[in-house]
Symmetry: C2
């Protein structure tokens, strides 16, 4: 998949968005991106293999939750915050709170 792939989040079925967030590994990636804004694939630490992580990045990009940007040999990942906020207001805040419980 091209790094520039960027589907219209407004037309993405909600169940697809929830499906993407319904895996603990992918949810963790999203929560990391809430804090870090932009990270390279390699910085997304996990005991899982690179190919598995790449699979999860792909799922998140396919449903429109993240975007990818190539620079040199690295690919940088970030959330599509504005689009997410428009489709599911409050979601990112709720996820952020869940990362840092009181």
């Amino acid at each position: 998949m091209k790094a520039s792939y960027r589907p219209d989040l407004k037309r993405m079925p909600l169940s697809s968005l929830f499906y993407a967030l319904g895996d603990p590994v992918r949810l963790k990636i999203v929560q990391t991106l809430i804090e870090q804004n932009e990270i390279s694939c390699g910085e997304c630490k996990s005991p899982l293999s690179k190919s598995t992580m790449s699979h999860h990045f792909k799922v998140l990009q396919q449903v429109g939750l993240i975007q990818r940007r190539g620079e040199g040999t690295s690919h940088y990942l970030s959330l599509r915050r504005a689009e997410i906020d428009r489709r599911l207001p409050g979601l990112l805040e709720a996820l952020q709170r869940a990362t840092h419980p009181l």
Copy 2:
């Protein structure tokens, strides 16, 4: 599973909640319950078989999104609104908006 089963939504992993919402049939059930407040299993119309629907009700109850109440031969389903709002503020409103786009 007993109709009274009612896990603590505060301690349910977020990924489990999203997983439950990540199926189009289950999401539709939840969206119906936003509008209807309480319905019997049979009122939850679908082309799918009764056993399949029962499976989806079970998943939604197991993650704590809905509750069941038996009365006569019927079982009535409803959302656990207060608990959901506490865990994921804005979610139900977002789902409601998605049901009735502007």
